[in-house]
């Protein structure tokens, strides 16, 4: 299918999911229209004319939240999309993100008095390595022991979250804080905001750069070619002398590195310290993003922006109306189902055409 038709199909699927989501909202809410408006316009800043004639931008915090969320989602989307090139379903972005965040925070805290030019790259690298190492594990388990990667990545997520809690609670714990958390990361290791009063940092630019790097790697390097071949036809690839096992394991590790960068984003740009109860689950959202992009790595930032828009809108909706944000889970699930149902749109079109013909025949 051509990219434009594919795009139209996805737009149709998202539209249908939104309509059904609205139907669900109408069932559980007294104010469905207000809720829907909050969902659809929530992340946008409002521009108002102040009393002295100047234009004032309001609600920049939510706009910032949108870009921050899109950054995380782009990176975890890469963590799903790259192993998927090798036809591996990695659900492990969560654990990799936690490990990346932990590594970045540990390095930032451990460095002490070094300038930012040293501290930032080191923390960045540590996050990528932490994520990659955690990603390599299911890769090795799959290629060495044929352990089902869906099961192992999910199990490793649980382990990673517990390791994270153990380290934050018992090793990096700041006893002076009122809750269990690491001490604030030193200023030299954190990123300054690009937009005032938000946490939109240089990471918002790193995310598209990471996508470009991944594209280069997949299209222009031997490893990328091997990963694609291992996914397209592992039997043929093995016959042709491609190291299928190595390429598959490295695809997992590469994905993990990007999830680790998402962890760096969380620790050194968004939170600037790591609380013990950091919520897991964002990694699974990477699946949605990767799906919306339909395996086209270049489309990941766009899919992430669209999906983050929905998520931030849902938070605005929960705050202003009686609809819980879980409605977005429903919409998200419907988007997933409609997007992967290849035969849904042709079937619907065929039914519509037949119904139209019958009406015309009756007339």
């Amino acid at each position: 299918m051509t990219p434009s038709r594919e795009g139209a199909r996805i737009a149709l699927a998202v539209g249908a999911a939104l309509v059904l989501g609205f139907a669900v909202m109408a069932c559980v809410s007294d104010q469905p229209w207000a809720a829907f408006r909050a969902l659809v316009t929530g992340p946008l800043p409002s521009i108002e004319r102040a009393a002295d004639g100047h234009l004032v931008m309001r609600r920049l915090v939510r706009f910032g939240a949108w870009l921050q969320d899109a950054t995380t989602l782009t990176l975890v989307g890469l963590a799903v999309a790259i192993p998927f090139r090798a036809r591996q379903f990695s659900l492990g972005a969560d654990g990799q993100l936690f490990m990346g965040a932990l590594a970045a925070a540990a390095v930032s805290l451990g460095l002490g008095g070094v300038p930012a030019v040293v501290a930032l790259p080191l923390a960045f690298l540590a996050a990528a390595l932490g994520g990659a190492a955690w990603g390599l594990l299911p890769g090795l388990l799959k290629t060495r022991f044929e352990a089902n990667e869906i099961v192992t990545t999910l199990m490793l997520n649980v382990v990673a979250v517990q390791v994270y809690r153990l380290v934050v609670g018992r090793v990096l714990n700041d006893p002076t804080a009122g809750f269990i958390t690491t001490p604030p990361l030193p200023d030299v290791a954190t990123l300054a905001p690009l937009i005032a009063r938000t946490n939109v940092t240089a990471m918002a630019l790193v995310a598209p750069a990471a996508v470009a790097a991944a594209l280069f790697l997949l299209r222009r390097t031997t490893l990328g070619y091997e990963i694609g071949l291992a996914g397209a036809n592992p039997w043929f690839a093995a016959r042709a002398g491609v190291p299928v096992a190595r390429a598959t394991a490295l695809a997992f590790a590469l994905g993990g590195a990007f999830a680790g960068l998402a962890g760096f984003h969380v620790s050194n740009a968004l939170l600037k310290r790591l609380p013990v109860d950091l919520t897991p689950g964002i990694g699974l959202e990477g699946i949605v993003v990767a799906l919306l992009a339909r395996e086209r790595v270049a489309a990941l930032p766009l899919a992430a922006l669209g999906y983050a828009y929905l998520r931030v809108g849902a938070q605005a909706m929960e705050r202003t109306t009686d609809v819980p944000r879980e409605v977005v889970l429903v919409i998200q699930a419907l988007i997933i189902l409609f997007v992967v149902s290849d035969r849904l749109v042709p079937l619907a079109l065929g039914l519509a055409r037949r119904a139209g013909a019958r009406i015309r025949g009756a007339a």
């Binding site: 069932c27 352990a147 869906i150 099961v151 699946i287 879980e326 429903v330 149902s341």
Partner: protein
């Protein structure tokens, strides 16, 4: 000495009962996973099926008491049970339609349905009770427990058969045992079981042999939904007597692991599910000691991964031994 023996035996019986209770939902779900896996459709939506079944069961039993105040009390939990089984099976049916009719990828659609179940249950729960955490404010019912008469005085046996408090085990605990036997028998000894397995083994060959592959896959997925629903209903109406957000807590995925761990055999799968149940009980008991809770929570997933690796190594060793034995038989001079 005999007293020590009795005490040890009682403790073992208590632990065995706890492990069995913890394993029951996983046993149900893993049997479901096994049936669809053998039909060639890996059912990732087990988690969502359990959630939906638990939710429908709890809510229906509570509302049944409101709608039919004159009905006998024993009716409400069974109505809930029926509704839970129906709802879970319907979700599995949805997966079957999306995969078999609409060409959706099975794994991705399964994940999608899990997310749908997670969102819908919380949404409806918030709508019905105003609480996003649990249905504690609804007066829901538990399914009855079965007691063995006449064993109460017997030292170890009494505790084993009727539980620590002597209240007996939930009917679904026995249901899981029956389901295990029935599934194992049906897969091995009925025409339907044979055809189901043929479909999963080689769909092309099954089709060429005239089997209705698509219909068999529908049957496999629906049956897997029904079985996993049993686990969900037990969670909400036996293990606990309420519904909690994200109540399945990864048991559906654990069940999937049990299928692979058990070598896609009924008894192996159930054995793996029992090991998972025992691991979670052991984790809870270790939590009482000085071990950090985080370490305790790591045990079940690490056991799963280690078991997957060990089973693989064992299979490889067996295969190598068989090959070696075959070579030896071929090379031996006394062959006839």
């Amino acid at each position: 000495m005999t007293l020590d023996l009795v005490a040890a035996g009682t403790l073992a019986a208590v632990l065995a009962g706890a492990a069995l209770r913890a394993a029951t939902p996983i046993v149900f779900a893993s049997l479901g996973g096994l049936v669809s896996e053998l039909a060639g459709c890996v059912n990732v939506a087990l988690e969502g099926v359990m959630l939906v079944a638990a939710f429908a069961g709890v809510v229906t039993s509570a509302y049944s008491a409101l709608w039919f105040p004159d009905a006998p009390l024993w009716l409400h939990p069974w109505l809930g049970c029926a509704a839970g089984l129906a709802a879970g099976t319907a979700l599995a049916g949805l997966l079957a339609v999306f995969h078999l009719e609409l060409g959706a990828d099975l794994i991705v659609a399964g994940i999608g349905l899990n997310i749908l179940a997670q969102g819908l249950t919380v949404l409806l729960m918030a709508h019905l009770t105003g609480d996003k955490g649990s249905t504690a404010s609804l007066a829901s019912f538990a399914l009855p427990s079965l007691r063995w008469p006449g064993v109460d005085g017997v030292p170890v046996l009494g505790v084993l058969l009727n539980g620590e408090g002597g209240g007996g085990h939930n009917v679904l605990v026995y249901g899981a045992l029956v389901a295990t036997g029935l599934t194992a028998w049906a897969l091995r000894h009925t025409v339907f079981g044979l055809r189901l397995r043929a479909t999963g083994e080689n769909a092309q060959a099954a089709l060429a042999a005239g089997l209705p592959v698509k219909r068999l896959r529908y049957a496999g997925l629906l049956l897997s939904g029904l079985l996993a629903s049993g686990g969900g209903v037990f969670l909400g109406m036996g293990y606990l007597t309420l519904f909690q957000a994200d109540m399945a807590a990864g048991r559906g995925y654990l069940a999937l692991a049990a299928v692979f761990l058990g070598g896609r055999q009924p008894l192996g799968t159930v054995a793996a599910a029992l090991v998972f149940g025992a691991a979670s009980v052991a984790a809870a008991r270790l939590g009482l000691l000085a071990v950090p809770a985080e370490v305790v929570f790591m045990i079940p997933p690490l056991v799963t991964i280690a078991a997957l690796v060990l089973v693989r190594l064992h299979q490889r060793r067996t295969a190598r031994r068989r090959a070696a034995a075959g070579r030896a038989a071929l090379l031996s001079p006394q062959r006839t």
